[in-house]
Each structure stands twice: as structure tokens, then as C-alpha cells.
């Protein structure tokens, strides 16, 4: 009997490659890596966008949990990275964000072009944690790289941000860093979403 879900097989059934290949390799998103940051000033994630063929995965999700920093009001920045061309990284990030404060403060928004990094968490806190979910599209193909982030913070605000990096280079990873002298603690998990044409 063709196996299409876990309930279709019984204990001690022998599975062959074809059956697992159909419903597991087609599964999406695929878990890639999990990193625990503890007092880090910069955290690299090199090669994470190149773990699978780019024809199979070109859309990634990043979940940041329990992010705290040693100092308040630091920005968490994300920069793309290329293992193949050290030192290469777009110096021009464009972004727009909006910020909503829980306690009734005004909706704020801002944008910028030609930035040195994409600011994905704008106001970190030394004692109150943030959690974020981030989409990154096409980092390792010769297309514009796009990022979209949503962040909830114990510092009583919710932010959404989108960033764009217009370039023709392939970036196989990224780095997280802070806007000032400080350290960061938290967990970062990366997933890959399967392309429809693979």
C-alpha cells in the first residue's frame, strides 16, 4: 500500500527510499540549523543558504527566540554573507519598518536607503525578550534578495520590517550583529521552504 502519511504503515514495516522520498523530501519547511547565542557580539550563519541545491530551496524562514541584549535600545542587524567571496556584502540595504506600541502610543514608521545593514529588531532590551520570525527570499540566486520580519517584544512593541538588497551576487549565509557595543543572547533556528518546480 502506498504510504502517504504516518498512519498508513505499521510497526516493523520496511520502508523503501521511494516512499520516504515522496512525502519527506517534499516536506516543507525543512529544518536546517539551530544556534544558541550566549553573550555573542556577532553571530555568523555561513553556508546556511547553500545547504541544499538552490533549485530546491530559495526561500528561508528564521525564527529568533528569547533575544535579549546586554544594553537596552540596541538594534539587531542582519547582513548577508558570501563564503566564496570574503568581504563581499552589499553596502546598500533598503528598508521600511513600522512600529506599534502596545500601550496606545502612536504608530511610527520609517524607511531608509543605502544602509549598511538591515535592522530587524529596532529596540532590544536587556531584561525583556523579543521573538521574531523572518522570511528571506532568493539569497543564493542572482536575484534581488528580500527580507520580511515580524517581531514581538517584551518592551511593549510590535514591529514589522522589510528589507531589499538589489544585487546579482549569491549570498550563502548571513550574520547577526548589534548596532552598538553590546552582546546578545537567544536562539536562532533556520528552515528552508521547498520550491514548486523542484
Amino acid at each position: 500500500m502506498a504510504i502517504s502519511r504516518r498512519a498508513d504503515y505499521a510497526t516493523n514495516d520496511i520502508l523503501v527510499y521511494d516512499e520516504l522520498n515522496r512525502w519527506s523530501i517534499n516536506g516543507s519547511p525543512q529544518y536546517l540549523t539551530h544556534t544558541v547565542m550566549s553573550g555573542a557580539t556577532t553571530q555568523p550563519f555561513h553556508g546556511v543558504f547553500n545547504m541544499y541545491p538552490v533549485t530546491t530551496y530559495s526561500h528561508f524562514k528564521i525564527i529568533i527566540n528569547k533575544l535579549t541584549t546586554s544594553l537596552d535600545n540596541l538594534q539587531l542587524n542582519m547582513k548577508l554573507h558570501s563564503t566564496f567571496i570574503p568581504g563581499l556584502g552589499p553596502s546598500t540595504y533598503d528598508q521600511a519598518y513600522q512600529n506599534v506600541v502596545y500601550n496606545g502610543g502612536a504608530l511610527s514608521y520609517n524607511s531608509g536607503t543605502g544602509l549598511s545593514a538591515w535592522s530587524i529588531v529596532r529596540n532590544t532590551n536587556s531584561s525583556a525578550a523579543s521573538s521574531a520570525i523572518i522570511d528571506v527570499f532568493n539569497p543564493f540566486v542572482a536575484l534581488t534578495v528580500t527580507g520580511i520580519s515580524k517581531i514581538s517584544s517584551d518592551s511593549l512593541q510590535y514591529s514589522t520590517s522589510s528589507g531589499r538588497y538589489a544585487n546579482s551576487n549569491a549570498f550563502d549565509g548571513f550574520e547577526l550583529s548589534l548596532s552598538g557595543a553590546g552582546t546578545m543572547t537567544g536562539t536562532v533556528t533556520v528552515y528552508a521552504l521547498r520550491n514548486g518546480n523542484a
Partner: protein, 194 residues
């Protein structure tokens, strides 16, 4: 990288564990709703008895085609501790909502709510709702973060926030704050971590 076998070859447990059990999202529970005023996850994946556990840091709740009886309806999601729905007003959120028919974007905020708002206050009448809600760290100590994206009958709602108490939470309850009956389906997935 996955270990690619040839067609027809058999796989042993170690190969399967190493190369195939890496689904980033795993369905851990679901609930079909038919004219109910409150709903929790009642069907769980093998080996699970609660929605949230120490196995995972983050979860995604997907609500499909939720309809509520006619009337101004606000859909709320509450978290459960020890199997009991929380009743405190410790949900903090901020977001925006915008209607298809109006050019105005509304800001929705609350610094002391009894639940996570899933729908917009701007919309009235019968509500048909689809939504994805990411929930972070419900079971571990510390506050619980969430992000909501929802499409209602005639508009969009996007928000995020926290449940502030450092309480270990093991489940969730969906309800209509006006007591109207709900019909639809919700699926709960767990984001994999080591």
C-alpha cells in the same frame, strides 16, 4: 546534506533519523469546530497529549475558514496553563488593520487584554476568518510572544504581542468574545528545534 539512496533501496532507522526526520513544521494537533463558542485542540499527534510541550520552542496555529454568527464579533485566542484557560488581562499587542472598502488604516493596540485579538475591531457583521499565528516559548519560562496575520471577510489584520506572565502554558483556547458560535478548523504545527 541528505543521503540520497537509489530507487528501491531499503533504509534503516539510523538513515531515516539522520536524513529524513527533519521536517521544519510538524502537525501536532487539530480541531474541527461546528457551532461551538469555545474550542481547544483535542486531537493530537502520536506521543503528544498537550498542544505545547518542552519538545518545541515555537508553534504555528492555522485557522481555516472560521465563521461566526452574525454580529459584531471579535475572535480571541487565549492560552491555557495546566489545561485551564487563562483569565487574566495580561495579553499585550499592537497591530494594524485595513479594510478593502476603506482607505483608512487603523491601529489596534491593547496593553491589558484578556486574549490575543485575531480579528479586527473595524469589521462588523458575519465574520469569515483565515489566520496564521506564530507562538513563541509558550511552555518554557518567560513571556510568550506571538505574531498574527489574518484575512477577514473584507480586510486584513496584522499584529504581534506578548502574554506577559512567566507561566508555563500547555494549550490554547479559541473563542468569540460575544459568545457567538464558531464553525471552522484549526491546525497546530510545531517548529522543529534540536
Amino acid at each position: 546534506m541528505p543521503f540520497f539512496q537509489t530507487s528501491g533501496s531499503q533504509l534503516n532507522v539510523s538513515r531515516v533519523n539522520a536524513n529524513y526526520l527533519n521536517p521544519g513544521l510538524q502537525l501536532v494537533g487539530f480541531r474541527s469546530m461546528s457551532s461551538v463558542t469555545t474550542a481547544t485542540i483535542t486531537t493530537f499527534d502520536t506521543g503528544r497529549t498537550t498542544a505545547f510541550s518542552s519538545q518545541n520552542l515555537s508553534y504555528r496555529l492555522v485557522i481555516q475558514e472560521l465563521t461566526c454568527a452574525t454580529g459584531a464579533a471579535t475572535v480571541l485566542l487565549k492560552l491555557n496553563a495546566g489545561g485551564v484557560v487563562t483569565t487574566d488581562a495580561e495579553y499585550y499587542y499592537g497591530g494594524i488593520s485595513y479594510s478593502d472598502a476603506a482607505a483608512t488604516t487603523l491601529r489596534n493596540v491593547n496593553a491589558s487584554s484578556t486574549g490575543m485579538r485575531i480579528g479586527s475591531a473595524a469589521l462588523t457583521g458575519a465574520v469569515t476568518l483565515c489566520a496564521t499565528i506564530d507562538i513563541h516559548n509558550p511552555f518554557a519560562s518567560g513571556s510568550t510572544g506571538f505574531q498574527v496575520e489574518a484575512r477577514e471577510s473584507a480586510g486584513t489584520f496584522s499584529s504581534g504581542g506578548i502574554y506577559k506572565p512567566h507561566t508555563s502554558l500547555d494549550g490554547l483556547t479559541l473563542l468569540n468574545n460575544n459568545g457567538y458560535a464558531m464553525t471552522g478548523k484549526m491546525m497546530l504545527y510545531a517548529w522543529r528545534n534540536p
